[in-house]
Point group: none
Chain length 224, copies 4
C-alpha cells in the first residue's frame, strides 16, 4: 500500500499518478507494464514513485484494491435492496455491474484492474481474500435462494456458484462480441459507446431467463 507521503500529495498530482498507472496496467500485463512509462507520462521523477510505493507490485496491488473499492461503493449506492426473487436480484447485480463499467472511462479501467484479480501472476494475501470474498458472496446468494425455494437443490451449490461466476467473468466478452468490438480495446471511447448502445435490458432478460430455467426450482420454471 502507498506510503504516507503519497497521501500527503496534492489531490491533483495523486490523481494524475493513479490515472496514468491505471491506464498502463489496464493496457499491459503486469510484467509488460512499465514503471518508466508511467513516470514519464505522469510527469514525475523516476525516484518519486518509489517514495510513494514500495515497488511495482505494491503499486499494482493498490490499483486493484482501488478498483475493488470503487466497484463496491458503486454497488452499495446503486443496487436496489434485496427483493424477493433470487433471479431478480442476480439480474440487478449484472445490471449494476454493467452500469458501473459503462459509467465512465475510469470505471472501465477499474473494471479491467478488478478482473486482473483472477489471473494475476502475483501471489498476494489481499488478492486471495478478495477473490474468496467475491466467490463467497455469490455462494451466499445461491444458498439464500435455495432456502427461499427459488433455486433447485438437487445439484451442489458449488456448481451453481461456479456457473454464475463463469457467466459474470465472461460477460464483458459477450458484450464486446455482440457490439463487434475487440474485447481488449473496450476502454477506447468509441468502443465504449458502441457497447453502451446495446439493448442491455433485453440481453439481461434473456440471460437471466436461461439461468432461471436452468437453475430454478422445477415448479418455478415456465409457469406463465
Amino acid at each position: 500500500m502507498p506510503t504516507e507521503t503519497f497521501f500527503n500529495l496534492p489531490e491533483e498530482k495523486r490523481e494524475k499518478i493513479i490515472q496514468t498507472a491505471l491506464e498502463e496496467f489496464a493496457q499491459h500485463s503486469y510484467a509488460q507494464a512499465s514503471i518508466s512509462r508511467i513516470v514519464r507520462r505522469a510527469g514525475i521523477a523516476k525516484g518519486s514513485i518509489y517514495q510513494y510505493f514500495k515497488d511495482k507490485k505494491d503499486l499494482y496491488l493498490y490499483l486493484i484494491q482501488l478498483a475493488g473499492e470503487a466497484k463496491l461503493r458503486f454497488i452499495a449506492q446503486e443496487k436496489p435492496g434485496a427483493r424477493q426473487d433470487f433471479f431478480d436480484d442476480f439480474r440487478d447485480l449484472l445490471v449494476v455491474g454493467a452500469r458501473f463499467n459503462l459509467a465512465s472511462p475510469r470505471n472501465q479501467l477499474y473494471a479491467q484492474m478488478a478482473s486482473k484479480m483472477y489471473t494475476s501472476p502475483i501471489r498476494d494475501e489481499m488478492l486471495t481474500k478478495m477473490k474468496e470474498m467475491s466467490e463467497a458472496y455469490i455462494a451466499d446468494l445461491v444458498r439464500a435462494g435455495q432456502e427461499k425455494g427459488q433455486i433447485r437443490t438437487d445439484v451442489p451449490v458449488e456448481l451453481l456458484t461456479y456457473f454464475l461466476n463463469a457467466v459474470m467473468t465472461e460477460f464483458h466478452r459477450y458484450l464486446a462480441k455482440v457490439a463487434g468490438v475487440d474485447p481488449d480495446r473496450i476502454v477506447e471511447p468509441e468502443n465504449l459507446e458502441r457497447v453502451q448502445r446495446l439493448d442491455l435490458e433485453r440481453i439481461f432478460t434473456d440471460l437471466v431467463d436461461v439461468l432461471e430455467n436452468g437453475m430454478g426450482r422445477e415448479d418455478a420454471r415456465w409457469s406463465p
Copy 2:
C-alpha cells in the same frame, strides 16, 4: 515450426526440451517466459535452441500447435460419434476434454498452452484460424441443436454460444475448486491426483442438466 535439426535430435533430448519449454510457457505469459531459463533448465547451450527454432515466437507457436494436435488426436480417439441429442453430445465434449486434461501432467500443460490461444499477444494466422474454428464449432452445434428442436430459439444463438463457452473456459477452475486445489498449480502431480479422484460423472451430469433446463426447448425439459 522447428528446424529439421530439431527432429533429428535423440528422442530423449527433444522430449526434455519440449517438456521444459511447456512448463515455462504454461507458467508464464509469453513475454515473461524466458528462453534463458528454458535452456538453463533443459541443460543445453543458449545457442542450441536457435538451431531448433527460429526464435522465441516460433517455439511458442510450436508448443501451441503440439497442444492442439494432442488434444484433437485424443478427442478423435475417445469421443463417441455424434448422438441424437445435443446435450448428450455436449456432455461428451466436456467429458473427453476433462479426461484429456487429467490423463497426464503433460496433458495438463498442453491444456494450458491450448488455452493461451485465446489470449495470446502473438498475432498469427494459425492461431486465428484455430480460435475461429473452435468458436464456430460450438456455434454450429448450437444451431444444429435448434434445428433438431432440442434448443430453444427464443434467445439469440450468440447468447447460448457464449454461455457454453463460458462454461467450458471456466470449467477447470471449478474442478480445482471442488478438489480444493490451487487452479494455477493443477499440473503438480499431487494436485492432479486430487482432481482425478473427483466423481466427474456426477459433476458432468449435473452441469449438463442445468444447461439442458436453461437452454433446452420448453417441452423437452423435465420430462422424466
Copy 3:
C-alpha cells in the same frame, strides 16, 4: 541526438564518453563498433549509455554531427575569404582542412568520423544532406571557376568535380605515406607529430600546381 541527461553530465564525464566513443567508431566500422567496449573503457554502466543516447545509431550520428560542426567552426574561423582565383581558393580549402586534421588528436578522430559520412551503412536524412551539401559545394566552386574563365570548359564539370573529390578524399593517405606512417594509425600522437612536421606548404603548392595545369584554362597555364 543525446538526451538532456547527457548534457547535464559533468563536463569531464561527458568528455570521457565522447572521446571513448570517437575512438571506438573511428577504429571500427559502424557494425563492428561495440557499445559494450565503449562503456567498459569509459568506465560507466551499460545502462547509462542508454540514458544518454537512444541507441547505437543515435550515438553514431551524434559523433558525426560533432565532427562536422567542429570542422565547420574551424573553417569559418581559419579560412581566408574567397579570393579571385579558384585555385588559390581550393588550396586554402586543402590547407585549412589539413590544419584542422592535424591540430589535435581529437581533430583527427573528428576527421575520421566526418569521412564516414560517405560510406556509412546508416541511411539518415542528416547524413544525406551533409553529403549532398559537400558535393554540391565543390561542384559550385568548379562552375564558378569556369565562369570566371579560370577552369577549362572542354571537359564535363562532373569529371573535374570527381577529380577534386578524389584528391581530397585520398589526401590524408598521401600525407601518411610521405610521413612514413600507417594511415590507419594516424591518430596516435607520435604519428600525428610526424605528419605535422611535413612541409605542408610545399606539398600544397605542388598539388595545386598540378591541378591548375590540368584543369585550368589553356591560356592560364604556364604563363610565366
Copy 4:
C-alpha cells in the same frame, strides 16, 4: 590459404563455394559477412568450410588473392605492350582495368574484392605486399615517364603517384555517378549494363587529358 582438401574438390563444388563466398564478401564488410550464410547458400555443411579454410580470415584473404590474380592475368593478356608515351600507357591501364571490371559479373566481384585490399580491417602480410606492389608499379611508371621526358620533374614523384592512385581508386565511383547508379550496387546486372553503355572512350580521353596537362612536361602540353 586453402587446404589441400579444397583443391581436391570437384571443380564444380569448388567453384560454387568461391562464387558464393565472393558474393557474400563483396556485398558485406568483412565483419558483416557471414560464414553461415555462405555455407547455406553454397549448400555445404558448416564444418566443411573449416576443412577447406583455416578460418574466416583465411577464406577472405584467399578471395582477395584470387581477385588480384585474375586481374593481373587479364591485364597481362589484354594490355598492349608499353608504348612510347606514358599517358597513352596510363590510359591503356584505365581502359583495361575498366574492361576487366565490366567483362563479367564475376569480374565485378573480383574488382570489389581487390579494392577491399586498401581498406581491409585485417592486418596481413600478403595484403601489405599487394598494396605496396601496386603502388610501386605506378611509381615505376611515373619514374619511367619522367626519364622519357614526358612527366614533369619539378614535383615529387610521390605526389604524382598519389594523384594517379586517387584517380584510379575513386574511378568507379565516378562511373557510377555518371551512369546514375548506386556505387555500392554496381554488381547488379542492370546497373552493370548501364555503366557499360557509357561512352568510356570519351571519358578516358578527357580524364587523361586533364592528367597530361597537369602532370606532363611543360613543352609536351597543348601541343596540337
